[in-house]
């Protein structure tokens, strides 16, 4: 490694050297530039490694042989070296990326690039205010030059706007520096920090001006119109530099200034950052141009880092970890995305669909989006975790809330974009991707995953990339070229093996969930053997990611691992759902609701942490004892709402129908039968640890009872009016989950038993129904029930599955659904809340309506002409259904097999309450008894007697065809007009249709519309006029001045 001054001297020297070359020696010039950048990158890397690994002490570099504060000095420490590495690596890659442009423009352009690097290095290294000013100005000028490199004529205007604004900034900065000097007698940053009392006695304004100038460099809202124009029109490689490197350098400048300032300024910084973060993400919602969107996103991310800078006082030792995590994630992702944008020909977001031609680029894109969003295992995840915990510990909840809200806005446009990429038509223009540009993107991808690993290592919690299930899921990325059947086999094998490995460690509750997730998941995977002739790119990594998350979730012992698993399964399932044909909008709403829920969970854990970085989940129990006031209640509320988004409780349910209905045939059972259990598991965990909680005197479990009950009612009612079979099942899931939530919320032994019964039952019959309906839909080519009918003879096995399924769902004896109902009644006997029960009662029989509709309109009634030649659903789709039928029968006969142990286990938590007695063939409770096997026998005997007799009597019955029906002495003409199916429950709609008013949908739609319209309206504030931007800037200065005056 070479002395720190080399970062300035070497690049400057190289720039001057370039000036001496002939114009025509372009290769030489390019070579010198690359060599310089490569050398400095290596140097920065060595230093970083030195500081990080070998434990070097930060070094001071004195110039002019004179100690500071009299001469300029530089400091090189871990932060600085890391940023230098970032700057140089970005510049190096951009230089490679810009090869053609640079070769065309010649050595001058290269020297501008080198000087930019040097200026950024200067900003990072210097400890002198005026020196900082000089380097800032150099950056401005160099940027102004590089903006000109763009082919886009509009860049000229953008560059000029940039210069106008820079002029104003430099005026402020200069005046500020001089008055600060006058007040303190020194111009050294550290010196001034020592004298800060002096500074703020007389020189408050001086510091204010400096502060404003540096903040303005960070493009705060509203003084950032110019930056967006620059991002939109500059060459993407250069935008990458501005976003990643210049942003990072400006941030460290601000950090240095904050060293001088007191705590008041920290909060101000945070507020400015927060406003920027919110505004940029809000405006991003209305963007269709990719680069401008990236611009908004960059501005927003920098705002977020600014927010974090302002929280220095509470972050303590984690400060660098958090800032670094967010900043580096932003830098890598944004640089990567800008580089990709150079490969995409069209400028609309949907033109990015071209990425589908190159799976590797697509993967890079997905990684970058995840990196930006701070999804695990990327650094932003660890950083946000720490940040949120710190904010919660310091009681800065409003900041926390607004930050998470803005993150959700960001998720809104990022995932919408991702949806475009996956689902939109391929644009006419293909990707332009020469190898060197692609390599650059791939290097960014490598950097992204490397960062993920490093941050995992640095994290005080566990490194997610050491988790076996996650690695197994990621391994499928590598295995993508294999044929699908092999991957399927591997997936099943992996899950079964993992179950066998973890089996001994499970407690009974985990065993039930684990069994459903891993073994149940494997059974559903059997259906994936169908159509495994194709490779199904992307299916297995996504599915395995979801299963990895799920299997980690149930064994998580502390809040961190729990949340990480939660995020993993969310992301995995999002990818899965997105695979459906028309699923783009539904997948988006799924991920938004899920992330919203996840943020609430995060906030809840953070509040519960009480300053600790993570807590064992069991510790949630102590919360109400340890803290005064309503904290425990709030934690409970946040976590519960988070989990309830996954169970699609009413109000948060609108994502579910579309997501489940549009998913692929074998995905629907996964996301319905298995994924929904994640929410239930969360609730189980929550209630098991925290128990009943109150908030402002309101019993929260009581509220949950209501939510569960209303979900059951609304879910069932909406299912009644669906024409689409899979949507019907999806709404039915909402109702079923409502029952389960209700059971859990009852907070007694039997309520929990019922919920678990629902967990098992719902998995079995919903998977089965989704599979058989999916199989039918595959054969008939439609999911609309009124277009089917009379399939019973053609698809008998599917019919049997549905028949058994609906008997089980409706809770009619003798099948297992009845067990759930029986336990339910026993549970409510000992419950003191009666009103929500009324709703549950109302919901119960409604299930009959949609179930009957399901079986009637598909399998009974009139067969359609075009379906006369249909075959039974494919073998691999029918096979799991038959397994489920067998399961259902066994579970109906001997429910004790699965439930006895859980019963004992749950008994520990509800000591003294009523429980069940499993002795003999009869299950007894305090109130009644239930004997599954005798019931089955009695009903079986009666049934078979009658059936055989009827068969015997009618042994000579004439088998007739579909139109041999009495038709008022006429006869039907077409099956379509004879099959009664559409608007099946019209009278019911007349009577109770008012309950199905899409109020919730309307609410969320209004909300999103409002946000979009607000974004559309407010962004007009960026008029495109450079002078207006300067006015914004002045306005911002004055406003902050008044704000700061007011705060002090």
């Amino acid at each position: 490694m070479v002395d720190g001054i080399s970062f300035i001297a070497v690049s400057l020297g190289a720039a001057f050297l370039l000036g001496m070359l002939r114009d025509s020696w372009r290769f030489a010039a390019y070579g010198v530039s690359l060599a310089t950048l490569a050398f400095l990158t290596w140097n920065a890397f060595c230093w970083t490694k030195g500081f990080a690994v070998d434990g070097l002490v930060p070094i001071e570099i004195f110039t002019a042989g004179t100690p500071p504060p009299f001469a300029v000095n530089l400091r090189l420490g871990l932060t600085e070296s890391a940023l230098l590495l970032l700057v140089h690596i970005t510049a190096l890659l951009s230089a490679i990326y810009l090869r053609d442009t640079l070769m065309q423009q010649g050595r001058r352009a290269m020297s501008v690039l080198l000087v930019l690097c040097m200026a950024l290095s200067g900003i990072i290294l210097t400890r002198d205010l005026f020196n900082l000013f000089v380097f800032v100005e150099l950056t401005v000028i160099a940027s102004g030059g590089l903006i000109l490199l763009s082919q886009d004529k509009r860049a000229l205007g953008a560059g000029f706007k940039y210069l106008i604004v820079s002029q104003v900034m430099s005026i402020l900065l200069l005046i500020g520096i001089f008055f600060a000097y006058q007040a303190t007698g020194t111009i050294n940053i550290d010196g001034m920090a020592e004298q800060s009392a002096l500074l703020f006695k007389g020189g408050f304004l001086a510091f204010f001006l400096m502060f404003m100038a540096v903040v303005l460099e960070l493009k705060p809202f509203p003084a950032n119109g110019w930056a967006l124009d620059v991002y939109e029109s500059a060459h993407p490689a250069f935008s990458a530099i501005i976003s990643a490197a210049v942003g990072a350098a400006s941030l460290i400048a601000l950090d240095k200034l904050l060293l001088i300032a007191g705590p008041d300024w920290l909060m101000l910084t945070s507020i400015i950052g927060l406003i920027t973060f919110i505004a940029a993400n809000l405006f991003g919602l209305a963007q269709e141009n990719d680069r401008r969107l990236l611009g908004y996103s960059s501005v927003g991310q920098i705002g977020l880092v600014m927010l974090v800078l302002g929280q220095k006082d509470i972050l303590g030792d984690n400060y660098l970890f958090v800032v670094g995590g967010i900043l580096l994630a932003h830098a890598v992702a944004k640089a990567g995305l800008f580089w990709i944008s150079g490969l995409v020909q069209g400028r609309e977001l949907k033109d990015w669909a071209a990425l589908r031609q190159r799976p590797l680029l697509l993967f890079a894109f997905a990684s970058f989006i995840a990196l930006l969003m701070g999804l695990p295992p990327f650094p932003g995840f660890y950083a946000k975790w720490e940040l949120v915990h710190a904010l919660a510990a310091a009681d800065r909840l409003w900041l926390l809330g607004l930050m998470l809200f803005a993150s959700l806005l960001e998720a809104g446009y990022l995932f919408r974009w991702f949806g475009y990429v996956i689902k939109r038509d391929l644009p006419e223009q293909p990707l332009a991707c020469p190898w060197h540009k692609r390599t650059v993107v791939m290097l960014a991808l490598v950097a992204a995953w490397a960062l993920a690993y490093i941050w995992g290592e640095l994290s005080p919690h566990s490194n997610l990339l050491h988790l076996l299930p996650l690695l197994f899921a990621l391994a499928f990325l590598v295995l993508e070229p294999l044929p699908a059947w092999l991957k399927n086999l591997l997936a099943i094998g992996g899950m079964v093996v993992w179950f066998l490995l973890s089996y001994p460690g499970y407690d009974p509750l985990q065993l039930i969930y684990g069994g459903i997730i891993l073994i149940g998941g494997s059974i559903i995977f059997l259906a994936s053997f169908y159509g495994s002739a194709q490779r199904r790119l992307g299916f297995y990594p996504s599915a395995m990611l979801m299963y990895a998350g799920l299997s980690l979730l149930i064994v998580a012992e502390d809040s961190f691992n729990f949340f990480a698993a939660w995020e993993l399964l969310t992301v995995g399932s999002y990818f899965l759902i997105l695979r459906g044909k028309e699923s783009e909008p539904h997948a988006l709403s799924y991920i938004l609701f899920s992330l919203g829920g996840a943020f609430l969970i995060l906030a809840g854990f953070a509040l519960a942490g009480l300053g600790a970085g993570q807590i064992p989940l069991a510790r949630l129990a102590d919360l109400s004892g340890q803290t005064s006031g309503e904290l425990a209640g709030w934690v409970f509320l946040l976590l519960a709402i988070g989990f309830l988004t996954k169970t699609a409780a009413v109000g948060l349910h609108i994502w579910l129908p579309g997501a489940h209905a549009e998913a692929e045939t074998d995905v629907s059972p996964m996301v319905s039968g298995i994924l929904l259990k994640a929410g239930l598991f969360g609730l189980t965990m929550l209630l098991m640890t925290m128990g009943k909680q109150q908030l402002y005197g309101v019993e929260l479990t009581h509220v949950m009872l209501w939510i569960g009950a209303i979900s059951a009612l609304v879910g069932n009612l909406l299912a009644v009016f669906q024409e689409d079979a899979k949507r019907l099942l999806a709404y039915s899931s909402i109702g079923q989950m409502g029952y389960a939530v209700f059971g859990l919320a009852m907070m007694n032994h039997l309520g929990w038993m019922m919920a678990l019964m629902f967990v098992i039952n719902h998995y079995i019959y919903k998977s089965m129904l989704f599979l058989s309906v999916g199989g039918v839909a595959k054969r008939t080519g439609t999911r609309l029930m009124y277009q089917m009918g009379g399939l019973i003879t053609l698809m008998p096995l599917s019919f049997i599955a549905v028949l058994i399924g609906i008997i089980a769902v409706s809770g009619v004896p003798p099948l297992s659904g009845f067990g759930g109902r029986w336990i339910f009644y026993n549970a409510i006997m000992s419950d003191e809340y009666r009103l929500p029960l009324v709703i549950i009662f109302l919901a119960g029989p409604i299930a009959f309506l949609y179930l009957f509709r399901l079986i009637h309109t598909i399998f009974l009634g009139q067969l359609k002409d075009e379906h006369r030649k249909l075959k039974e659903a494919p073998f691999w789709i029918v096979l799991p259904q038959m397994i489920f039928v067998a399961f259902l029968m066994i579970f109906a006969l001997v429910p004790g097999l699965a439930l006895r142990h859980v019963d004992v286990y749950i008994g520990q938590f509800f000591a003294g309450g009523p429980s069940l007695n499993w002795e003999g063939l009869t299950i007894t409770s305090q109130f009644g008894q239930w004997a599954p096997i005798p019931i089955m026998i009695i009903i079986g005997v009666i049934f078979m007697t009658l059936f055989l007799w009827l068969l015997f009597v009618n042994r000579r019955a004439q088998k007739v065809k579909q139109f041999n029906i009495v038709f008022a002495a006429e006869r039907p003409y077409r099956p379509e007009t004879t099959h009664f199916a559409w608007n099946f429950f019209a009278p019911y709609r007349k009577a109770l249709g008012f309950l199905t008013q899409p109020l919730v949908t309307r609410f969320w739609e209004t909300l999103t519309d409002l946000l979009h319209q607000l974004a559309d309206l407010l962004r007009r504030f960026y008029t495109g006029n450079g002078q207006t931007y300067a006015v914004h800037l002045l306005l911002f200065v004055v406003a902050v001045y008044l704000l700061q005056k007011g705060m002090m």
């Binding site: 005026f130 000089v134 100005e137 401005v140 000028i141 102004g144 030059g145 000109l148 004529k153 509009r154 000229l156 205007g157 953008a158 560059g159 000029f160 706007k161 210069l163 106008i164 820079s166 002029q167 104003v168 430099s170 005026i171 200069l174 005046i175 001089f178 008055f179 000097y181 006058q182 111009i187 119109g225 967006l228 124009d229 939109e232 029109s233 209305a286 962004r1019 007009r1020 960026y1022 008029t1023 495109g1024 006029n1025 450079g1026 002078q1027 300067a1030 006015v1031 002045l1034």
Partner: protein, 118 residues
Amino acid sequence: MAQIAMATGFILILIGLYGALTNRNLLRMIIGFTIAHSGVNLVLVAVGYLSGRTAPILDSAVPMAEAAERIIDPLPQALVLTAIVIGVGVTALMLAYAYRIYVTKGTLDIGKCRELKW
């Protein structure tokens, strides 16, 4: 004395900015910024001024031993020089931009450079 210079400097800054922000012609804007810069430099020099003292050059009039009592603050002087040069650089860059804009668009009106917005 210093206050008068400083006040003048501030007024110049405001005048310059007013000019730069209200004139739509690029060249006029540049001139506005130049005026503002002059104002800034004036303010800067005024900050370092100590009344009744002389320039920070050691010669027979200012012997080395008395320097601390006789000269004004040399640092602002030095820094202002840098500031001036940087101002010149930025101005030149803006001029180059103005030239390019004129060549490509045929206008010097900032109001016409509004393809990028929202």
